[in-house]
């Protein structure tokens, strides 16, 4: 089954939750969904990350049972819902708490739906709503998610993949998104701005990874963004 079909089928299966107010798709599927007609050719990932604002936790929990025909919570890790069919992707719930510092993380304890809450997701704001597979899908504004990807601590191969997701977002970003990125970047404290630039420098030297955007043809774009953010540092932009 083509990857895009699996992604759309998963969105359909997760519809009860995705249509809850303020719930967002975050993570590696966003570049795919930002492509024209959600072409889904940028990133091959085996899960759909759903961002749940902590103030919406109770209402999302109330809709979980409606996903049961297609997905089931992992016994070891109930924030992950595994597909009952190979034609679907995993669904991974993560928490969003706008009151938290971007370097913070905590566990929202819950028997049914515990959430790992990443402070960096506080940088993500709701953006466009698109209609896909009969489901209203709320996407994040690209600038905030791009910054989240660049500011979050990365480790090993997972870290490389996350940086390549940032690359996918950069490849779909428009001029207004980059202007917004400048503004958001300027609100970060010095250490986090350094992390962003450091991760961009790492991204510029990454080797290709199967199923991910090839960073090599995009190196000039990454270098241009680095220079742009340095201008923000110097106050010349």
């Amino acid at each position: 089954m083509p990857f895009r079909d699996r992604l759309l089928a998963t969105i359909r299966a997760a519809r009860p939750v995705l249509e809850e107010p303020e719930v967002l798709v975050v993570g590696s599927e966003v570049p795919n969904l930002l492509q024209p007609e959600a072409a889904s050719t940028l990133v091959v990932s085996q899960d759909l990350d759903i961002g749940v604002p902590v103030n919406r936790h109770a209402s999302v929990k109330g809709r979980l049972a409606e996903m049961m025909p297609s997905l089931t919570p992992s016994p070891e890790e109930p924030s992950v819902w595994t597909p009952r069919s190979p034609d679907l992707l995993e669904v991974n719930f993560v928490g969003i708490d706008r009151s938290r510092d971007p370097t913070d993380a905590y566990v929202l304890e819950d028997d049914q739906l515990p959430l790992l809450v990443f402070g960096a997701l506080s940088l993500v704001a709701a953006g466009a709503e698109i209609e896909l597979a009969g489901t209203r899908v709320r996407l994040p504004r690209p600038a905030g998610l791009l910054l989240e990807k660049l500011v979050t601590d990365r480790a090993g191969g997972k870290g490389d993949r996350d940086l390549l997701v940032a690359l996918g977002l950069l490849m779909t970003a428009g001029a207004a998104d980059l202007d917004e990125l400048d503004t958001l970047y300027g609100t970060l404290r010095s250490e986090l701005r350094h992390v962003v630039r450091s991760n961009l420098a790492v991204l510029s030297l990454l080797e290709p990874t199967s199923g991910m955007p090839d960073p090599r043809p995009q190196r000039a774009t990454v270098a241009s963004l680095l220079r742009r953010l340095e201008q923000v540092e110097e106050g010349t932009r």
Binding site: A105, V195, R197, L200, R219, V222
Partner: protein
């Protein structure tokens, strides 16, 4: 049930601590890796060249990147236009990444992206 999530939080917090420690060293020796990656990020291509060719480039006024002098052994790193590199017999292309080849090179010429 949330033991795995709590374990991930602990690991995450440990990495954030290390990252802060690295940030505080950004102007010291450990910061050289960011500065080297930052220089390489501006390179569309990289070449290993002979000491003689590197000296000729320096004599022509091409600037040595300071980060090369912060490495041990020191490394000559120069940005040079692609058309000038094309005239250098010793120039051997290598991938632009932190590879053994690049780190072993004593004289490294980088070409900038087109403006």
């Amino acid at each position: 049930m949330t033991r795995a999530l709590n374990q991930r939080v602990s690991e995450f917090r440990a990495r954030v601590l290390v990252r802060s420690w690295e940030y505080r060293q950004r102007h010291h020796a450990r910061g050289v890796w960011f500065r080297l990656r930052r220089v390489l990020a501006e390179a569309s291509a990289a070449f290993v060249v002979s000491a003689e060719d590197a000296a000729a480039l320096a004599a022509e006024g091409y600037r040595l990147e300071p980060v090369g002098q912060a490495l041990e052994p020191q490394k000559w790193i120069l940005f040079v236009p692609a058309e000038r590199v094309a005239r250098m017999a010793s120039a051997r292309p290598i991938p632009v990444r932190l590879s053994r080849e690049l780190l072993e090179a004593q004289h490294l010429v980088l070409t900038p992206f087109d403006a």
